[in-house]
Symmetry: C2
Subunit: 241 residues, 2 copies
């Protein structure tokens, strides 16, 4: 089951909640995932993102708690905070619980340790609205299980001497992260979010980084195929086409 | 400007938030309003609503705080808690602040006094997602100001010896409250929520009460006109048709 969820709020407990980003998290049928978190008002910000991360299914551990709740332990392969070595941000596994409310929204709670595992625990809450990934607008799903089972579920990956990256396609929504290896500054980070419109053209919504043109120009591909963009070869590691 | 907002969460501070209802609040151009709050899982509930209330624009006082925030003081004409005399619920004016977040969601904070004005203050938070009232699905608006200026904005009212009621139409969404005067039990309460579909037929979504058939069967009417449903005469007190 693919999933596209739009964040409704972020809360560092016990501070009041807020939402300053347009955050979308995409997950494929096989559990590959990316979350891209651009600020709505990015004026004056050199890096116009709160955060971005992603990984393949081997970077996430899911356990069912009950019909309504799962525990998810994330150990991101890609993490802009780690890449940039942002001080006072978490390293390593993040333990979370995802709980579905009657209304269909999904509450995520967990803890991070910005000052190391021996440091102060910071509890957080995020709230997620499942949206229909096959639509270009944000059309709410009553429950994330109501998602179209036939929606595109595609993942592309690159890992060569110079670059490592991941692109996730769910329905009409594409999100991507591309890191230049060994470059731990903004020059090493590329992010994008696009939509596949009714004519199957890719329309860019968010694009960041010197190498952003290396994100794949075509994504509706079969598993095992290769697509090259500005010299960078991407492998399709999952596709339901 | 009409408004249709879907509640995302309800929080009695400092308890954790939750959302067990599908709550919609509708407000017309002139400021007449209704909020209907049915539980998603109403099994076993004699009254399957958390609450419902409404009023005309003279039952609300709005003051601008800044570009992002307004204070709103509600003094409902219709309030199911008051009608049923539910113990430990608020009476009289409720003072609230509505603040628009960067993401377009609207945070409402305020206090109620369930044990009277001298009793304990209970702080609450609600969070609202503006949705497009001209659509049958829940299509999110980036900002409530993005609403279609031509959307239907209609209010119907009844106040005779036996009944008092209000119906609010914004876009394709209709919500209504009808009280039987002097009957302070569930027998005196009627609530409904409907949609006007593409064929201009009214499709019922929520319908409660012995007199629910008295809600108007036609609502796309001019200001000043009268429509009668099962003997009950409704006056159109606002219409932009």
């Amino acid at each position: 089951m693919v999933s596209l969820t739009k964040r409704v709020l972020f809360e560092v407990i016990p501070n009041p909640p807020d939402e300053t980003t347009l955050t979308l998290s995409s997950t494929t049928n096989k559990g590959h995932y990316i979350s891209v978190r651009p600020f709505v008002n990015a004026e004056g910000k050199e890096f116009p993102f709160e955060w971005a991360f992603g990984g393949t299914s081997d970077h996430i551990e899911l356990k069912k708690i009950n019909e309504r709740a799962n525990s998810l332990n994330f150990n991101f392969k890609f993490d802009t905070n780690v890449k940039l070595n942002v001080p006072e941000t978490h390293r390593g596994v993040i333990k979370t619980v995802f709980k579905t409310w009657d209304s269909g929204l999904v509450e995520e709670t967990g803890s991070v340790f910005p000052w190391g595992t021996e440091g102060t625990e910071v509890k957080f809450r995020e709230l997620w609205q499942p949206v229909d990934p096959t639509r270009l607008e944000f059309v709410e799903l009553n429950n994330e299980k109501d998602v179209d089972q036939a929606a595109n579920s595609i993942a592309l990956s690159v890992d060569n001497e110079e670059y490592e990256g991941l692109v996730i396609v769910v329905g009409r929504w594409i999100q991507g992260i591309l890191f230049k290896k060994g470059v731990n500054t903004l020059d090493g980070i590329n992010l994008f979010r696009s939509q596949i419109d009714e004519k199957n053209s890719i329309v860019s919504l968010v694009k960041f980084g010197a190498d952003a043109d290396k994100f794949p120009q075509e994504v509706l591909l079969n598993e095992g195929s290769i697509t090259t963009s500005k010299g960078l070869e991407w492998s399709v590691i999952e596709s339901n086409l």
